[in-house]
């Protein structure tokens, strides 16, 4: 990776990365993807998040759903671990709690394929600064 040599370069880089991300999320883009984040701080991993991430990655590709599954840090819902955030292109991100394999399968079939909400949705209970 090339070094970033000035603030302007850093700003360009940020804008470039931001637009790449929003392109993924654009419902009109043929290369759009379902973006899934799995909360994987120590506590999430301890309650089984890693196997959920592997399961989602494998199943989504098996079922031919264009998607990116990434790990992320603590979402703060310790009581409902493992938690995942699913963002369908052009829609608000939804957080699901208590995700085991059965639940993950249901989320793929119901929410990701058909857009129907399943049980276990955690309402976002905070505002952030941007």
């Amino acid at each position: 990776m090339t070094r970033i040599k000035s603030l302007d370069e850093l700003k360009n880089k940020r804008d470039e990365l931001k637009s790449a991300l929003s392109l993924l999320d654009d419902p009109d883009n043929p290369d759009r993807k379902v973006q899934i984040k799995v909360a994987m701080a120590t506590c999430g991993i301890a309650s089984g998040a890693r196997s959920i991430k592997d399961f989602l990655t494998a199943e989504l590709s098996k079922r031919n759903i264009p998607s990116v599954v990434t790990q992320t840090g603590c979402m703060g819902y310790c009581y409902a671990e493992p938690t995942i955030e699913v963002k369908l292109p052009g829609r608000e991100a939804v957080i699901f709690g208590y995700v085991d394999r059965i639940k993950a399968d249901e989320i793929i079939e119901k929410y990701i394929k058909k857009g129907e909400l399943t049980e276990g949705v955690i309402p976002r209970n905070y505002s952030t600064i941007d």
């Binding site: 850093l10 909360a39 703060g76 310790c78 905070y126």
Partner: protein, 499 residues
């Protein structure tokens, strides 16, 4: 002005990126404005201008004591030396606290960026993160983050073409609680015993390797970048008169929504427990909240509507601490809670000064005596006097605050102490010497389920006849009460010695 944002519940500043991005991929952090504040500081601000922004913002140390961060940086910047250091205190040791770990695991770049900004402001080119070895994932993610930031030229030599150099190294702690105290932390990093020394000299004049050192907590650092980017007025508009911004709390204990939360200063306990936390488990009655860990105290029902900030917590006999919040219900015995913290302190006291090493041990012994039902009224007085002596004479912050759990429970739950001592009763049914199990003869069908599970064979009785528990043998493990399908076994709050 004072309560403007509290209605909205949580506001995430320090946790802004936690759960939003992949901590092992710097590109995602950059897309979410990481290092923009560093770029702005290096290009547009002088060190003093940057320090002034922090001073105006009113940001105070999130490690617990609440020292104004801008002032701390200013003192370090004015120290004259050929070499200075920036230290990040990631030695999070309070029982039940996991704020710093979550930030480091979820958004390591926010801390690295702020450390570089601090380096620029105080004139340091080296940063050290003191992190406990029990946090292997946080260590791994920090290492990846540092490597990636070096590769991108966001740390290292000539950052963003400014001529400013800054590198960050990790130092591992072995998990000693006292090493969260900054002088002990510095000694531990130097390879010496993790023992505190008298202040002054403060680390800002003579710290790591006798050089001026600025030590800040993880959460404090995580607040820096947004303040630079959004301005001090934005930050100081959040919170109360003397405590600005937000605070991260780790909600634990008998609460429905155990979790990591960030609320504006001035939010009441009631909002935190009943709205964000979803109330007490199994709808039991709220008894107390322990804040500030072993250095803090208990807040009770009468404090439920107190706006939480540094001053109000101190006034209520507790302290902000690093942000652990342990919720307790009617089944928790407050004398045992105090004993638990003292047990922790006795194990963690470094032993250097007598009041802490010996005094806390004696406090623990008195509490042990009371929970065993052997306490006398004089013990309560002794507890109080000894607590004040330890507070006044201990060397470092650990000892000076270690009697707080005792003093605060004595103040708020004197009835419970009194009951333990005089009536030999533990109303929570927690102290094993102060209650016993009894079988209700009318409900018992003589199925012998309890008899079979009793590990010490304290239960006797013939088949299909009411059984009997011998309290002198019973160890109060509670197995039988769980096994009984007829609710025939109950707790009787009378001491063992009277049986």
């Amino acid at each position: 002005m004072e309560k403007q944002i509290t209605q909205q519940g949580q506001l995430r500043i320090a946790l802004r990126n936690c759960g939003m991005l992949d901590p092992e991929n710097i590109a995602e952090s950059i897309a979410r404005d990481a290092y923009q504040a560093l770029g702005k500081v290096l290009k547009e601000l002088s060190p003093q201008e940057c320090i002034n922004i922090l001073k105006q913002s009113g940001l105070r140390g999130r490690g617990g004591a609440g020292f104004p961060t801008g002032l701390k940086w200013e003192i370090a910047s004015k120290s004259q030396s050929d070499q200075k250091y920036v230290v990040c205190n990631a030695d999070e040791g309070d029982p039940g606290a996991f704020m710093d770990r979550s930030i480091l695991e979820g958004d390591p770049h926010s801390v690295l960026e702020a450390m570089a900004i601090c380096g620029y402001c105080i004139g340091a080119d080296k940063g050290l993160i003191y992190i406990r070895a029990e946090y292997p994932l946080a260590i791994k993610r920090l290492r990846i983050a540092i490597d990636q930031a070096m590769e991108y030229g966001l740390l290292g030599k000539n950052i963003l073409g400014s001529g400013f150099n800054f590198e960050i190294k990790l130092r591992y702690g072995a998990g000693a609680f006292v090493c969260g105290e900054e002088t002990a932390l510095i000694h531990s990093m130097e390879g010496k015993r993790g023992e505190p020394t008298n202040k002054p000299p403060f680390p800002a004049t003579s710290g790591f390797m006798k050089k001026p050192t600025n030590v800040n907590n993880v959460e404090t650092f995580a607040n820096i970048a947004p303040i630079i980017l959004k301005g001090p007025d934005w930050f100081s508009s959040i919170g109360t008169k003397n405590s600005k911004g937000t605070k991260v709390f780790a909600l634990a204990g008998k609460i429905n929504n155990v979790g990591l939360i960030e609320v504006p200063m001035g939010t009441s306990l009631r909002e935190i427990i009943y709205e964000i936390g979803g109330g007490i488990k199994e709808d039991k009655k709220f008894k107390a909240v322990q804040t500030g860990g072993p250095s803090g105290g208990c807040l009770t029902e009468k404090h439920l509507d107190t706006p939480i900030d540094y001053e109000n917590l101190i006034e209520a006999g507790s302290m902000m601490g690093s942000g652990g919040m342990i919720v307790m219900d009617e089944n928790d015995c407050m004398v045992s809670v105090a004993k638990f913290y003292l047990d922790f302190i006795v194990g963690e006291s470094c032993g250097k000064c007598t009041p802490c090493r010996v005094g806390n041990k004696r406090l623990y012994e008195i509490l042990e005596k009371i929970t065993q039902g052997k306490g006398v009224m004089k013990d309560l007085e002794k507890l109080k006097n000894l607590s004040y002596i330890i507070k006044d004479t201990a060397l470092c912050g650990l000892g000076q605050t270690s009697p707080n759990p005792v003093l605060s429970t004595l103040e708020n739950f004197y009835d419970e102490y009194y009951e333990h001592v005089v009536e030999k009763k533990c109303r929570a049914g927690h102290c094993k010497n102060l209650f016993h199990y009894v079988i209700n003869e009318e409900l018992c069908v003589g199925c012998a389920a309890c008899k079979r599970c009793c590990p010490v064979h304290a239960i006797t009785g013939d088949k299909r006849m009411p059984h009997y528990i011998d309290s002198n043998i019973c160890i109060r493990c509670g197995e039988c009460i769980e096994k009984c399908s007829f609710d025939a076994i109950s707790i009787q709050l009378e001491p063992k010695i009277l049986v």
